[in-house]
Symmetry: C2
Subunit: 305 residues, 2 copies
DNA sequence: CAAAGCCATTACTGTTCGGCATGACCTTGG
DNA sequence: CCAAGGTCATGCCGAACAGTAATGGCTTTG
């Protein structure tokens, strides 16, 4: 490993200024120091990073290849610094956080319980929203944090932590459902089943449809349509209907033996979540700390799964 | 900036082993060196990163907050090394690369032209596919690289370069279209216009619909439906229809004054692309070099825009 | 109460990194 | 044709840093 943070900064500046000397000036270094840093990099990699000419330097293909990694390194190191700085403040105030239903129960409540152990004076306001409206409320200043599925490429919104966490969406049926008795269940079989689903057009139903359309099938229109998780679960429990739910929302029923996953691999969907915040302005220390509790809780939740 | 690569590696190992001494052993260092590294980090940030107890250390919230950044740093540094190693090989062979239509013309052809200057013996095979099939062909080994819109969270597929590039999809009309003469054009106005579009269900049309549904409007069903870019452009040029196209596909017509962007901000969509490769196995050196040429070309294309 | 395991501290050493002075090279202009 | 001004490269030196070894303090454990 030869590219460390300092040499990355040097590399970036050399590319930007097109000159080792000017890069040195911008970095408050002397030109020979820059020269040697670059030469060490080149020796380490065994390839030239710059073409030298009399007016300065121009990066080779190797130099340009390294550039995005160098930028990533310094920017992430800076983000780490910012985060710690944000966390270092006092720990009171209000944190307003929103998420889709499946993350609120286990993940967010667990994170808040953990945080309250060390910071009992912080108040929380929790908002449940569909994923497309979450980010709007974040942008409008209505929320401090939003736990939302990927992706949101938006200039006003930034990731609040670099790593994502996951959610397994699968088909579930009441354990009494005769479908579960078959030796092998195919996608065609479940396409002919009756379903209980959220309304058409919601992201999760669109994703559900894609599973079938990808195999050129058309499932039956859902027999029961509801925004309510309770209603959908009840439909699966009582009425031989199938539902397509994130595991956290049915974990209890599965553990009690009331619901069972329908074993069709094509119907399993690993949904990726990230935690977002507004790009402009600093987070409150409480929000920064909550992010860490979310992280920690997510780790603990994912391990036993 | 206090978190550099070495201290990041130390931090990671300390968290993993739960003990400074064992971390030192794993890193081929002595325990005091590790202790001092951690203490320097803590002094730099002004917060404790570990709670010490008699059985070892356990990370504080601050330590855990830093952990994902530390992991990111070392992993990206490693990726940079891998990339250079991959690029260092010989430069002949065949590269099979796929993309959606809008990236093939300007971006990919430009990148290949650039690459052929230095590596004239490499052969290219270019495949145009819709975005959902692209990644399947990549996974099956049919392609070496795929230039595809985000996101594809998939265990078999990895990013081939860390930064993304963009594409601006906008509505265009023939310059003779009377709509363009209005002082202000609203989303309601264009919802009442006639459109030429790709078939319903394609990702780009789904995105187009979302623009209107987000404001609770229903546009007219498209008058002309075709998969052919030529047909759609011709419809806009000749028949007062609107089309919704990525800028690269209409750049020439815009520069010749035949098509003009319809100035409705809600209809502009910044599409994000990334270059993907299979996760398993190494890339060929030729593919690694092509990635850099794509990067370089994308930069040059985005600047004048 | 002794043993064992852990981290913290101190003193010492070797390597690395940056600064300074200088050299080699090319372009430019009189 | 030669001097001037720009570039990067090189060698030497001092300061800062990272690592080692030895030791001490602390807690748990038998």
């Amino acid at each position: 490993m030869t590219l460390d943070l300092r040499s990355a900064a040097v590399l970036i500046e050399c590319v930007r200024r097109g000159s080792l000397g000017r890069a040195a000036a911008a970095l408050n270094m002397t030109q020979p120091a820059v020269t040697r840093t670059i030469k060490l990099l080149e020796a380490g990699y065994g390839v030239p990073l710059f073409e030298r000419n009399t007016r300065g330097v121009v990066p080779t293909l190797y130099g340009e290849a390294l550039l995005p990694y160098a930028k990533l390194l310094v920017s992430e190191a800076g983000n780490a610094d910012d985060l710690i700085r944000q966390m270092r403040g006092a720990s009171r105030g209000v944190v307003r956080v929103g998420g889709v239903a499946s993350v609120l129960g286990g993940l967010l409540v667990g994170a808040i319980r953990q945080m309250r152990q060390h910071h009992p004076d912080v108040q929380f306001r929790i908002v449940e929203e569909l994923e497309d409206r979450l980010l709007d409320r974040l942008k409008s200043g209505d929320l401090d944090l939003a736990i939302s599925p990927e992706p949101y490429a938006d200039d006003e919104i930034a990731l609040a932590m670099p790593d994502a966490f996951h959610d397994i969406v699968s088909a579930y049926a009441g354990t009494g459902n005769p479908l579960l008795k078959r030796a092998r269940i195919s996608l065609e079989d479940v396409a002919r089943e009756d379903w209980a689903l959220p309304p058409a057009g919601t992201p999760i139903v669109r994703e559900w449809l894609r599973r079938f359309h990808g195999r050129a099938m058309e499932p039956k229109p859902p027999s029961i349509v509801s925004r309510s998780v309770q209603v959908i679960k009840a439909a699966a429990l009582a009425g031989d209907l199938l539902c397509w739910m994130p595991l956290p929302l049915v974990r209890e029923e599965v553990e009690r033996g009331e619901l069972a996953r329908v074993p069709v691999a094509e119907l399993d969907w690993t949904r990726t979540f990230r935690v977002y915040r507004r790009k402009k302005g600093l987070m409150s220390p409480s929000a920064a700390i909550l992010i860490q509790c979310i992280r920690r809780t997510a780790e603990h939740l994912e391990e036993p799964a």
